[in-house]
């Protein structure tokens, strides 16, 4: 379980996060949603340690992460997988090398064992036989799937996903969401997804955190979201006519 307590983050004069607390449980798809500039990505980066919170703590299964130095964080980081908004695949490496990167650095497995693991992960994201391609030869959806394969290669306990649907067509977007949901449930991973895609919210949101102006404005499940009377949340989720029509049917 990941627990964040009273997270503040300030950039110069700009206070982006204002005392956010939450718990993210294993086997659940925890979604952080909110409008542009609400602090979603900053919160995610504070949780994984890419930004240091100005105040507050982040704990992974009771181990306080924020007070650790780089070396102390390494064992926890080995248990973290992350899919970035633009996939962040290493350009100079093939798909296979990208997936095997963590295994090469942190395990003593033989090459054939690592290859087996890479093939398993690629198979899991439905990208068999693409081992030797370079990221530049992949489509946006394929890059996301390779990103997921790389994230799960080290069998993470925690999976962080930043805007998994950005730049994808609706069909591929749903496939990525389903994949994240399946992996989370199958391996009992604590998954934290930052998104503003409403299909994801309604489809996989086991636990949703709505941020507004750097504060936690609402917390609940995708079933509760349709019946909330929180004005800002309603304005955000049901902004489109399509979503308004869907709400009326619920």
């Amino acid at each position: 379980m990941i627990e964040i307590k009273d997270i503040f983050k300030t950039f110069g004069e700009n206070e982006v996060l204002k005392g956010i607390s939450a718990q993210f449980k294993p086997g659940k798809n925890n979604l952080i949603i909110g409008g542009s500039g609400s602090g979603k990505t900053t919160l995610l980066k504070c949780i994984v340690g890419l930004h240091e919170p100005t105040k507050g703590t982040v704990s992974f299964d009771g181990q306080e992460f924020t007070s650790m130095n780089f070396t102390e964080r390494v064992p926890i980081r080995k248990e973290i997988g992350m899919l970035f908004q633009n996939s962040a695949l290493f350009d100079s490496m093939t798909v296979e090398e990208n997936i095997m990167f963590g295994l090469n650095l942190f395990t003593d497995q033989s090459r054939s064992e690592k290859l087996d693991r890479a093939n398993f992960c690629l198979d899991r994201v439905n990208l068999k036989d693409r081992n030797k391609l370079y990221p530049s030869e992949l489509s946006g959806g394929m890059k996301k799937r390779v990103g997921i394969a790389r994230a799960i290669a080290m069998q993470p306990k925690y999976l962080f996903v930043d805007e998994p649907n950005s730049g994808l067509d609706p069909k591929t977007s749903i496939l990525i969401d389903e994949l994240i949901k399946e992996l989370t449930e199958e391996y009992n991973i604590t998954t934290v997804v930052v998104t503003h895609d409403m299909n994801s919210v309604m489809g996989i949101g086991d636990h949703i955190l709505f941020l507004h102006q750097g504060q936690k404005w609402w917390e609940g499940t995708n079933k509760e979201i349709a019946h909330t009377d929180n004005k800002e949340l309603n304005d955000f989720v049901f902004a489109s006519k399509f979503m308004q029509a869907a709400k009326e049917k619920l």
Partner: protein, 243 residues
């Protein structure tokens, strides 16, 4: 300026922390050696031959006096090639070729979150990205300079043959006259220092890139400019200390 210097020193300290796995880093060093060494060989060969030839022709022209032995042109060409032309001109060219490539590669990795991905995995990103480039730089740039010296002196010989500004025999005699081994030491020290400066300064500029494609270009330009200035400054320092 002091903030930048401090960040540069801290980045270098991080770069040379104990690697997570030596074999993976070793592969990176080899890859960078090929990229810096083999990748720069062509341009170094071309500029060295031309500079050697031009230096010999110009020295021969300026010393066209019956009071000065013609072989002196060979000696002056040799000393200027070994002391200045080969190490410094090569370094300035390499700052453009290798330095811009390093700064833009690392800068692109920064803006496309590849460096964040390394850090999330628990990899010491400066160590993985910068140390292999510096090691490759300080080992391959001296080798390139040695090749440059040989080709520069050969270029002078070819110029003698083609233009007849001095007889080839006199040029060879000049090359052998009054040779002081200290100039080779100075050349070697300069090339190692330049290798370090070009790779580390450009890597620093790339590593702290913020923004997008425009900023990557700016980092690459800044890296090349700073490393050229530092190469010239180091040239002055090494020359005044060792000669």
């Amino acid at each position: 300026m002091f903030t930048a210097l401090g960040k540069y020193i801290l980045l270098l300290r991080l770069s040379f922390k104990k690697p997570e796995k030596f074999s993976v880093y070793w592969n990176e060093v080899m890859r960078e050696m090929v990229s810096i060494g083999v990748g720069s060989l062509g341009i170094i060969c071309i500029i060295s031959v031309f500079i050697g030839a031009v230096a010999t022709i110009q020295v021969a022209f300026q010393l066209a006096s019956p009071l000065v032995p013609k072989s002196i042109a060979g000696s002056i060409s040799r000393d200027s090639t070994i002391l200045e032309f080969s190490p410094t001109i090569s370094a300035l060219v390499l700052a453009g070729r290798v330095g811009s490539s390093i700064a833009s590669e690392i800068g692109t990795m920064r803006v496309t979150e590849q460096i964040d991905a390394l850090e999330i995995m628990g990899v010491n990103a400066p160590g993985f990205l910068i140390a292999p480039k510096i090691i490759a730089g300080i080992s391959m740039i001296p080798l390139l300079v040695i090749i440059s010296v040989i080709l520069g002196l050969s270029g002078g010989y070819i110029a003698c043959l083609v233009t007849g500004s001095i007889a080839p025999v006199e040029y060879i005699t000049g090359l052998q006259d009054g040779f002081d081994p200290i100039i080779v030491t100075v050349c070697a020290v300069k090339s190692v220092v330049y290798g370090f400066l070009i790779t580390s300064i450009c890597a620093y500029n790339g590593f702290y890139t913020e923004g997008g494609a425009l900023e990557v270009g700016q980092s690459a330009t800044q890296g090349v400019v700073y490393s050229c200035v530092m190469v010239l400054f180091a040239d002055l320092m090494v020359s005044s200390l060792l000669l």
